[in-house]
Amino acid sequence: MHPAFSVIFLTTLIGVGQGLFLALYTGQLYSVVNVLPVQDSHSFYGLGSLLTLVFLLAGLVASVFHLGRPERAWRTATRWRSSWLSREVIVLPAFIALTALYGVINYYDLNPVLFSLNGEIHVELSLVVGGVNTVLAFALFFCTAMIYACVKFLQEWATPLTVVNYTLLGSASGFSLATAFAAYTGSGLVAFYAAWAVIITLAAFVTRIASLLRNANIKYKSSLRSAIGIRHSNIQQKSCGFMAGSFNTREYFHGATKRKFRSVKWTFLLLVFPLPVLLIGIGLGTSQAQVFALAFAIQYLGLLAERWFFFAQARHPQNLYYQTA
């Protein structure tokens, strides 16, 4: 497939947003059960939600560039019964809205205690809103990944690993950003987020390698023989029906050389996994916020390459009709 930059930015940016929100909420949850110190809701959760919103909205803007007719985008919410794309289009604004609500509640401290458990654990409004939003964050990962995983003849994508990778990679980048955010705001959660960022990054490394291995050994169900229905071992295409380009040759071929294709793979394997882990380690040692920020920036760059590779690697069966393209 031809990797579209709009979709690369959309999926990576909202992934960061979702991951960052999950990180904020995890921190809050831990502090409610008194495992972690309570953070200042105004500066930490309020501003953290604002940062989440920035990423989500940037992703939304990127998605507009993918549409031929963005002015009709409202129509996309109508087919949620059958289309994962439609479901994503419903969950994304809901997630954005609840993130904003969560931010407002925390920023202006409109946070009444709704009820208490055992008289010790105080369940505040933001905890409930955040809980619902956490479900939406995971639902959004699921919808986004299922857009690709449900197309069964794009065999590189049609695997549960796609869902796992979208979730883990998005969460990893979000927790990396949360580490940097905690460091800049002088919060006590730096080590907590750093540990989770490393754990999730390593988990994502395992599952992404698993999908690379799976895709390296894929057996394609379609062949030129089944595509034109002629069972002969020696078929050569002499003409694809036109002399210059068409939608079919532009949309489904990545057009990169083998070398570039492979170098993108190694680039993302380096930038997404070992380098951020190393930098987070250095950051913990030196307690410098800039190092955490660098770790996040490098991981995000790596994720752009990862998404490019994800699209480019998928071989669409229609390409069988364009042997010489």
């Binding site: 007719r69 994962w84 069964k152 029906g241 068409s246 079919n248 669409h316 009709y321």
Partner: protein
């Protein structure tokens, strides 16, 4: 349930592209707006077509056969391109099984084209909506046309009758008979899309004639014996002509 479709006979298609040009001509002139055509007379032309003819060579030289292979939307009975559409712009008509795109609802997200394994859908560069073969839905029901012309433009244009049109779910239709009697098949059956369009394979049309069938050995009445030349006085022209 009715399922209109094309049956394409690879045995007789000569790759003349008449179906391609007639399809473009009909569909670019319709009320739905023209089909994109960028740089038609320049370097790197690119445009929207609903139907394209490709050419394959089968076998090793000199024992090769050239197969011309027209392909348009196959109007799958279980079309994977329809459920993925987030707007409902892509739909399959219940009354005749034609898969269509509502150009006024499509947002040009291209998802349906990803979900078509046959590459039958093309995004129009000007209108920025998805387009594909309509089975000439604006022709086949047009009562202002004579009955014989209520067929897809490509079917009418084909000089070798390589394109048949009809209801594949009616066992007595011309397409069903052709599929049944000539081994008609579907493309990429492995995905369970159940395409309505079928293809008829190459068939060997051979007759074997032996020498004894050219010159009859068994000729009791010596009918073909050459008669001896008559003498110049024996016959007049009137004896041998019948006027």
């Amino acid at each position: 349930m009715k399922q209109l479709a094309l049956v394409i006979d690879l045995n007789v298609c000569v790759g003349c592209h008449a179906c391609v040009t007639s399809c473009k001509e009909w569909n670019t002139s319709g009320p739905a707006g023209f089909l994109a055509d960028r740089n038609p007379y320049d370097a790197d032309p690119s445009g929207t077509f609903f139907n394209r003819v490709q050419t394959f060579e089968i076998g090793a030289y000199p024992k090769t056969e050239t197969v011309h292979f027209p392909k348009s939307c196959l109007h799958c009975e279980d079309p994977p391109c329809v459920p993925v559409c987030p707007t409902g712009a892509s739909y399959k008509r219940a009354q005749d099984g034609i898969v269509l795109v509502d150009y006024d609802k499509c947002i040009g997200c291209k998802y349906c084209s990803w979900a078509c394994p046959y590459g039958a859908r093309e995004l129009d560069q000007n209108q920025r909506v998805m387009k594909k073969c309509t089975l000439c839905v604006d022709r086949i029901y047009d009562e202002s046309l004579p009955q014989s012309e209520r067929k897809p433009a490509c079917v009418l244009a084909c000089p070798t009758t390589a394109r048949l049109f009809g209801d594949v779910n009616d066992p007595d239709s011309v397409v069903s008979v052709a599929i049944r009697e000539n081994g008609g098949y579907q493309l990429m059956p492995e995905w369970g899309t159940n395409p309505a369009n079928h293809y008829l394979p190459r068939r060997k049309t051979q007759i074997s004639i032996h020498e004894d069938e050219l010159i009859r050995v068994d000729n009791p009445l010596k009918k073909e014996r050459q008669l001896p030349m008559p003498g110049s006085e024996e016959q007049t022209l009137d004896d041998i002509t019948s006027w």
